[in-house]
């Protein structure tokens, strides 16, 4: 297709369910779709982009970086056109060697039309005579995404980096947050210092996106069990792998991309912050001395103290890794009830040492595990709390489940807690 060309979907051999792929070799280019009403973004939920990869009913979805799926028949009637756009925070898109859009058997080469635009409208899908048409556009703004959002009448959240669009914006429900600087800086740092973590970070972000948590900001804290039964997990690297996954999650959630690490057996220990700079060999360097007991209570007290000192302005996600039940269960129950008033979400991950083990010993272990995990499940469902502030899941001792499943489990219920905590006034 060429710029300005307009065709019905039928003429293009396409249906109202269509896939559009944008390809661009300029690093850092973002792709978005805007569902408009009368030329304006009347509802910010119809800006589908990296921080919001899905329209409310799923009629527009983005699989980053640039694969869009449209279910046009599912769009509300009020949405009468959809623009597909490419934007870059710093460079004119003409710096790309290649920018093209493909759909069905067609390709639209946008590159020859570009001058100094940092934001360009690629395609327009619009209702016409009872059906949908597709227009190849290739027009844009030198001012980038903010100018584009301004053009569509959206409101851009004020940040240090993005000027507000000059165009007058009609009132909308909530500003669109374009700020992903923090996450991008961390990702770029990972690309330089820990390339092995980059795909983990992306996998973690998909699990967050699925829960609508792409924009969520949490302090991430990791609590590790150092009771004697954990020896194998420390020796075979399973704990190090877990630490790396906690860090990947923090790269998307945490304001500084670091994870504060705590150990507990009989006592509680602060072990400093895990970061991209020190993650390699972190668990070995901790010099863990296993302890002959499992007491949740002291480490929970320590963590709650730290959270109180750091402030309640940002919520905290606690990844609590244990392979056994705690002593002094009543105290732990009281802690959880008290902590339900604090902006802390407790994610308990039980390592099931008995899984797959047979024989007499295996049977004993399984009974012990059932008791321990029964308690953790009870914490998950504990009554008397202001909101449900905990979730529990268990994994077999090898902890070798696929990363996407692990991340899904780690952020499960985080969205519902966030909503409930906000409603209860625990979280701003």
């Amino acid at each position: 297709m060429q710029a300005g060309e307009r065709k019905t979907l039928a003429d293009l051999g396409l249906s109202e369910r269509l896939e559009v792929r944008v390809e661009c070799d300029l690093h850092g280019t973002d792709f978005s779709a805007f569902g408009l009403q009368g030329g304006k973004l009347a509802d910010d939920r119809y800006m589908v982009f990296y921080n919001q990869p899905r329209s409310p009913e799923g009629a527009i979805t983005l699989r980053p970086p640039g694969e869009f799926t449209f279910e046009l028949q599912a769009l509300p009637p009020a949405v009468d056109e959809v623009y597909l756009t490419a934007t870059h925070d710093e460079s004119p898109l003409s710096n790309a060697g290649r920018l093209n859009v493909s759909f069905g058997a067609h390709t639209f080469d946008v590159k020859p039309h570009l001058k100094a635009e940092k934001a360009v409208m690629l395609l327009r899908l619009y209702r016409h005579s009872g059906g949908w048409r597709l227009a190849a556009v290739a027009q844009g703004f030198n001012g980038g995404l903010a100018a584009l959002v301004g053009h569509f009448g959206g409101e851009v959240a004020e940040t240090a980096n993005e000027p507000l669009p000059a165009a007058s914006a009609p009132p909308v429900t909530s500003p669109v947050n374009l700020r992903k600087e923090r996450q991008r800086v961390i990702l770029e740092k990972a690309e330089r210092e820990q390339p092995g973590l980059v795909s983990l970070i992306k996998t973690a972000s998909i699990s967050l996106e699925k829960r609508g948590l792409s924009e969520a900001q949490y302090r991430v804290k990791l609590i590790l069990d150092i009771s004697a039964s954990m020896q194998r997990e420390y020796q075979n690297g399973a704990v190090q792998k877990l630490a790396e996954r906690a860090l990947a999650l923090a790269a998307r959630l945490d304001d500084d991309g670091e994870v504060e690490v705590y150990l507990f057996g009989v006592k509680a220990h602060r072990k400093g912050a895990l970061s991209l700079g020190n993650v390699s060999g972190f668990v070995n360097r901790m010099g863990v001395e296993l302890e002959g007991g499992t007491h949740y209570n002291p480490v929970m007290t320590m963590l709650r103290e730290d959270v109180r000192r750091e402030g309640f302005d940002i919520p905290t996600l606690v990844l609590f890794i244990t392979d056994g039940g705690t002593s002094n269960r009543d105290a732990v129950v009281r802690q959880m009830i008290e902590a339900s008033r604090e902006p802390i979400f407790w994610k308990f991950m039980g390592i099931d040492q008995a899984a797959g083990k047979g024989g007499f010993l295996g049977g004993l272990m399984q009974r012990a595990a059932a008791d321990s995990f029964g308690f953790l499940e009870k914490l998950d469902d504990l009554q008397g709390r202001m909101v449900d502030n905990a979730d529990f899941f268990s994994v077999p001792a090898s902890i070798d489940l696929p990363d996407n499943q692990l991340f899904d489990s780690l952020v499960n219920e985080l969205d519902s807690w966030q909503r409930d905590a906000r409603r209860a006034g625990i979280l701003r």
């Binding site: 060429q2 710029a3 300005g4 060309e5 307009r6 065709k7 020859p112 039309h113 570009l114 001058k115 100094a116 635009e117 409208m121 619009y126 016409h128 227009a135 190849a136 556009v137 290739a138 027009q139 844009g140 703004f141 030198n142 001012g143 053009h151």
Partner: protein, 191 residues
Amino acid sequence: MALSLQKGGNISLSKEAPNLRRILVGLGWDPRSTDGQAFDLDASAFLLAANGKVRGDHDFIFYNQKTSSDGSVEHTGDNLTGEGDGDDESIKVDLSRVPADIDKIAVAVTIHEAEQRRQNFGQVGGSFIRIVNDETGQELTRYDLGEDFSTETAVIFGEIYRHGSEWKFRAVGQGYTGGLGPMAKNYGVNI
């Protein structure tokens, strides 16, 4: 309230305004609100004889030849950007002075340097043509061209034509992909 026409529709101007003598043909389009290459659209008029061709090059009224030799048709000037409200360019026609062997006046809009700038009517919105009684300022009819264009670079917006003793207007909306040159040639102008 002026009657809006659909593509292909026509209206008798003489019936809308008895004793109509001078009209203004107003043409408009939306300037691009985006950055990048500006659009320069040009209006032109072709005075056509019964055979559908110009009698000579002097019957082609455009930015370089703003008035017909008999003075009946006058282009009021080139607007280079399309900015501002209302008509972007206009053509005045004194119907009473249009030579008897001129059967119709076709009014076209073309995109300047469309090929070099990679532009076409698929990228232009809000196009319209309206006919105003230039003596009273009353709008007689209007045709909004809508979203029907694609890669065309020249569009006949409408034509004013004789029907017996009346003058009528037809909403044409016919596009061509070649630009002003081929369109002029098509009407018999030597390019």
